[in-house]
């Protein structure tokens, strides 16, 4: 009796294990590095660079973020207005502080000014904030890459 020789069956399955390993590794990498702090940023503001820019160990207490665009307008809480109207923009922020039983002196005004805005406008902004009792300011800069 003659038996027919069986041909070995070649499996067409790729070994997916290394690929899945790498993919999970990449996902873990991007998940760790994803930046959720973009709410502080504004697309009209390009910060000046400074070699001394280093994130502080402790975040500022009671921060009020004020963006100053290159055209000289201010953005507080997502609403854009002229510098002259900063008082009405800051009033709700100060009300929130009052609810926390804090005064304007406890607040930190974080000024995120565009790199080409006139210095006088930044000073103008500071003096208007001073009139409202604010006295601690932080000029935000970005790292020199």
């Amino acid at each position: 009796m003659r038996l027919q020789k069986k041909h070995p069956q070649i499996s067409a399955e790729a070994d997916l294990t290394p690929m899945i390993d790498m993919t999970f590794l990449l996902i873990a990498f991007f998940t760790v590095l994803i930046n959720f702090s973009q709410s502080e940023q504004h697309d009209k503001v390009v910060l000046p660079v400074s070699e001394l820019a280093k994130p502080t160990d402790q975040p500022l207490k009671f921060p009020i973020i004020v963006h100053l665009t290159s055209s000289g307008t201010v953005v507080v809480g997502g609403a854009e207005s002229a510098i002259e109207a900063i008082r009405t923009r800051l009033a709700p922020e100060l009300d929130v502080l009052k609810l926390k039983k804090k005064t304007a002196k406890d607040a930190n005004v974080v000024i995120r000014a565009h790199q080409s805005v006139a210095t006088g406008r930044v000073q103008d902004l500071i003096s208007r904030c001073q009139e409202m009792g604010l006295e601690k300011f932080a000029l935000r800069v970005k790292e020199d890459l």
Binding site: I34, P48, S50, L52, Q115, Q130, G133, K136, V141
Partner: protein, 161 residues
């Protein structure tokens, strides 16, 4: 002649990977698209209480008061840097830093309330980036990965119009 069948009842324990790989790739694409390399940010702290009720400037408690005048050229470019009304550094912030380093020496340090203080008086139309350069020059310098602090107290003169 009788042959016994060998592969009788062998069940392959294969997982269905397709849907998992779909989701994993979807996540990967999402993270790649939303990934944004952003530079680290830092702050220069400026404490500026409002002038006293009498109208005069707040009392100067510093043992080493410095006044830095920053002139602007046309278009807001950097014109000239003058320290204490008599010492010009042209537009060279490195020389200014060297001078401040000599002045401050070891006096910069933990006694922040009485430490050296610099008052910056800049032209109205000077570009903000040059003000930051001036603040950077007097505030400190970077040595490797560390920041060496020179002057921590900064204040501004009233704006010039």
């Amino acid at each position: 002649m009788k042959f016994r069948r060998r592969d009788l009842g062998e069940v392959k324990a294969e997982l269905q990977m397709t849907s998992m790989i779909d989701i994993v790739f979807l996540l990967l694409i999402f993270f790649i698209v939303t990934f944004k390399v952003s530079a680290q940010e830092g702050d220069f702290n400026v404490k500026m209480p409002l002038a006293a009720a009498g109208g005069g400037p707040p009392p100067d408690t510093s043992k080493l008061p410095l006044k830095l005048r920053v002139h602007a050229g046309p278009d807001g470019q950097l014109g000239e840097i003058v320290l204490n009304d008599n010492l010009s550094f042209g537009t060279d912030f490195k020389r200014l830093r060297q001078h401040v380093l000599q002045l401050v020496g070891d006096s910069a340090g933990p006694i922040k309330e009485e430490g050296p203080e610099v008052e910056i008086d800049a032209d109205f139309n000077l570009r903000y980036v040059h003000l930051i350069e001036a603040i950077t020059a007097v505030t400190g310098y970077r040595q490797g990965n560390d920041v060496i602090r020179l002057i921590d107290r900064i204040k501004f003169s009233p704006p010039r119009k």
